[in-house]
């Protein structure tokens, strides 16, 4: 499969491209395994964000790799690990077996009660935002942490010195017109994904990524620091922080209302209604944080000059 090619390729640009393809394939596999939401995310993240980040990093570090050695010890470690894994799976429940313990203990409640208790058809969103809402709070914080870490490491150069090299692309009329035309639709599509996470695939995380990708596309084509004027870094940091605060705030609100942390039932008189509202708010928080953090990271990478 593509994976092997990825390993063997020595030109890192090609690798970035191939990992994108690999992500597409993985996402296709996820679709086939009924994991629509995951496929959505994997596509957006693997093929979108990771590729763009990888490329912008490669711009800074150079793309040619030296020939590699193949130490036997690595093979040994890998072999042992692989053997352990195979050993482990030998008496695993069969693939797709509906009677596997994984499907009979905790999961049925999500499937049977999720749509009723949380009031939304998409069980993944229900579990994500409500039953395991705390994980998702953690996830949002992880994103914020990554943004912070990149900020700490690279900082963001702001101001007039971010002139992208004037290149063929810099004044690429067809692209400019087209991107300008597509941008509102991409953004709106992102927001659509945000709002319809309750019903179909999608949710705050995916939406944040899509919206950010739209802006990244704009920046790639228009360059010249325009995007930094549209969405200044300071705004983004604040938006990221506010996103987490919205999420945490919902939790704290339920604390003050005399319920446990993150109990959305506290938000409205009718528990199901409260759940719905809570999930909506929480997803909004996730979306804001993800969108702004992805852009922060992108700024950090693209604003940095290549040093020799």
């Amino acid at each position: 499969m593509v994976a092997i090619a990825v390993i063997k390729q020595r030109n890192l640009f090609t690798i970035a491209m191939l990992t994108g393809i690999y992500s597409f394939l993985t996402a296709g596999l996820f679709m086939d395994l009924d994991a629509v939401d995951v496929a959505f995310t994997e596509a957006a993240v693997g093929a979108g964000v990771t590729t763009v980040l990888m490329l912008s990093a490669l711009r800074l570090v150079g793309s040619q790799q030296r020939p590699t050695r193949h130490p036997a010890i690595a093979l040994l470690v890998v072999g042992v690990t692989g053997a352990a894994l195979i050993y482990g799976t030998l008496d695993a429940p069969n693939f797709g077996d509906p009677n596997a313990p994984a499907h009979t203990h905790v999961a049925p409640r999500y499937i049977e009660q999720g749509p009723v208790e949380v009031g939304m058809p998409n069980m993944v969103t229900a579990v994500l935002a409500s039953y395991r809402g705390h994980d998702t709070l953690g996830e949002t914080v992880v994103i914020l942490t990554a943004g912070l870490a990149v900020l700490l490491l690279l900082g963001i150069q702001s101001g007039p010195e971010i002139q992208h090299n004037v290149s063929a692309m810099g004044r690429h009329m067809v692209l400019r017109v087209m991107v300008k035309l597509l941008l509102p639709f991409i953004l709106l599509f992102g927001l659509y994904v945000q709002m319809h996470g309750d019903f179909g695939a999608g949710g705050g995380f995916q939406a944040g990524v899509i919206v950010a990708t739209g802006f990244v596309l704009y920046d790639l084509v228009f360059g010249e620091g325009n995007l930094r004027k549209v969405l200044p870094t300071v705004w983004l940091t604040r938006i990221a922080a506010i996103g987490v605060l919205i999420y945490g705030g919902v939790g704290v609100f339920s604390l003050f209302a005399g319920h446990p942390f993150l109990d959305y039932s506290a938000l409205a008189d009718d528990p199901v209604h409260g759940q719905h509202l809570g999930v909506l708010l929480v997803e909004a928080g996730v979306g804001l944080t993800v969108f702004s953090t992805v852009l922060i990271i992108f700024y950090a990478f693209s604003g940095r000059r290549r040093q020799q």
Partner: protein, 498 residues
């Protein structure tokens, strides 16, 4: 629900939500103030929590008000509360120290995000200790790890970058192994809740899958806690990171990883499985022993005091693991006790070192010449920490070593006890090298910058050092509190589910 009922969640969300506040309000002074207030309030909450747990027994908290196997549960038993106290107390003390140290070592535009990341480390570590859900533990593990990669990379030496990168690779492999293991467990039991896992595992314990899961979780956590052959990332990471960061991480991060290991070994897999079916006890013991000897030896030859202390940490992990591998009450008590005491001594040592770096800008042993007279308070603190590290009687270090030796002798493993003593002697040697440099060697006249302008570090730096140094002695003499909790915690662990 009263405030008391919400304590378990408060200890996590206070630092967690203080982070965006720090980012929003900005400003170095304000960031520091918010972080400090958050940490101290958390400390108060933790103390109250410990009090409550020790009276009422384990506390469970349902997040989102979903019943445990479905929702995420926080579950705090005595050991959890105890480790939590260590983490938060050290974090709060280090913050006092941080204000001036950070001002000196971190460039201005990075200070605000620095405190934000600091809070995230604390929140992540606190989350690991209180959570009762295997996957939630992974999430918090990653929060704290990601933040600490960034913090480590802020060291002024460029090797801080490579150290952070190495840590990132190793840490991610560890975390991925961990989720493979958790995934296997989930496949076999259908649950992620720790208590539920513990209940359902015995039915399926005799399957290869569970054994593989066990192996992956142990290796994964072993990577995080720098168990001997997997320790490669640690010395560099501690040696090149900013003083504040080394103090915080050395005193807390590996403790929490040990805690997670204990959780999985004893609470989830249960004693019989963990140390009976699988010959893990022998393996752990061997690794612990080799770790003690090897790391102590390497430490003796280090020129950089920070690096020396980092290797010494690897050795101390060896002691802790050794205690676990003995699998009797005394051994585990010794481990838990050492967890606490090691946090105290390493905290004191790294902070003292931070104060030295603050003044002379170096941590090499030859720059220590004559420091004993120029920075008497700092160096005195360092010496007390060092004594505790060696295990000299009136200090806390002595108590835990004593218990460890007793435990080995209970099992009639006197060669092991000898190794422990040898380790202490090696510790004596490397601590002595610093002491010798500081007190008995005159500074070379052409010394770089100690031409008389080196004076005692400011109060905000010395105070935390001394609080910890004093704690080392206090807990060496008044053992009731620490020992009592450790004994009860280990009894609970070994007695199966607390």
């Amino acid at each position: 629900m009263s405030l008391m009922d919400n304590l378990p969640v408060l200890v996590v969300i206070l630092p967690l939500l203080a982070t965006p506040l720090v980012l929003l309000l900005g400003g170095f002074g304000r960031a520091w103030a918010i972080a400090t207030v958050a940490c101290w309030v958390t400390l108060a909450a933790t103390a109250a929590l410990l009090q409550r747990v020790s009276v009422e027994g384990p506390v469970s908290y349902r997040l989102g008000n979903w019943a445990p196997p479905w929702g995420i549960e926080y579950r705090i038993d005595l050991m959890g509360a105890y480790v939590l106290l260590i983490v938060v107390a050290i974090a709060a003390l280090v913050l006092v120290f941080a204000r001036q140290s950070v001002e000196k070592e971190i460039t201005a535009e990075r200070r605000v995000p620095f405190f934000a990341a600091y809070l995230l480390v604390v929140a992540g570590l606190a989350g690991i200790t209180v959570t009762g859900d295997a996957f939630n533990l992974f999430v918090f593990l990653e929060i704290s790890s990601l933040a600490s990669y960034a913090l480590i990379s802020l060291g002024r030496d460029r090797r801080a970058l490579t150290a952070a990168f190495q840590y990132l690779v190793m840490g991610t492999i560890g975390a991925t192994f961990f989720i493979i293991g958790v995934g296997f467990l989930y496949m076999m039991t259908g649950t992620l809740n720790m208590m539920d896992l513990a209940e359902r595992l015995p039915e399926v314990a005799d399957t290869r899958m569970v054994r593989a899961a066990f192996a992956f979780i142990v290796v994964g956590l072993g990577l995080k806690l720098a168990l001997f052959p997997l320790h490669m990332w640690m010395p560099d990471a501690y040696a090149y990171s900013p003083s504040v960061v080394s103090a915080l991480l050395a005193a807390t991060a590996s403790k929490v990883a040990v805690y997670a290991l204990l959780r999985f070994l004893f609470t989830i897999f249960g004693l019989e499985f963990a140390l009976g079916d699988v010959p893990l006890d022998l393996l752990l013991m061997a690794l612990g022993l080799i770790g003690i000897l090897f790391a102590s030896l390497v430490a003796v030859f280090q020129e950089n005091v920070k690096r020396m202390l980092a290797y010494s940490s690897v050795a101390q992990i060896g002691y802790i693991v050794l205690g676990i591998s003995l699998a009797n009450t005394t051994g585990v008590t010794a481990s838990i006790l050492h967890l606490f005491n090691h946090a105290l001594m390493k905290g004191a040592l790294f902070l003292a070192l931070g104060a030295v770096v603050y003044r002379i800008g170096s941590a090499r042993i030859q720059d220590f010449h004559g420091l004993g007279y120029k920075m008497p308070w700092t160096m005195a603190g360092f010496v007390i920490g060092g004594l505790s590290l060696i295990g000299v009687p009136p200090t806390a270090g002595f108590i835990s070593k004593w218990f460890l030796v007793t435990a080995t002798l209970e099992q009639n493993l006197w060669p092991v006890a000898v190794v422990v003593l040898v380790g202490s002697i090696l510790a004596l040697i490397y601590v002595w090298r610093v002491v010798e440099a500081a007190y008995f060697i005159k500074p070379a006249s052409q010394g770089i910058d100690q031409a008389g302008d080196v004076s005692e570090a400011p109060l905000s730096l010395v105070l935390p050092v001394w609080v910890l140094a004093a704690a080392n002695i206090w807990f060496g003499i008044h053992t009731d509190l620490s020992l009592g909790i450790a004994t009860r915690a280990s009894a609970a662990l070994l007695g199966g589910a607390p």
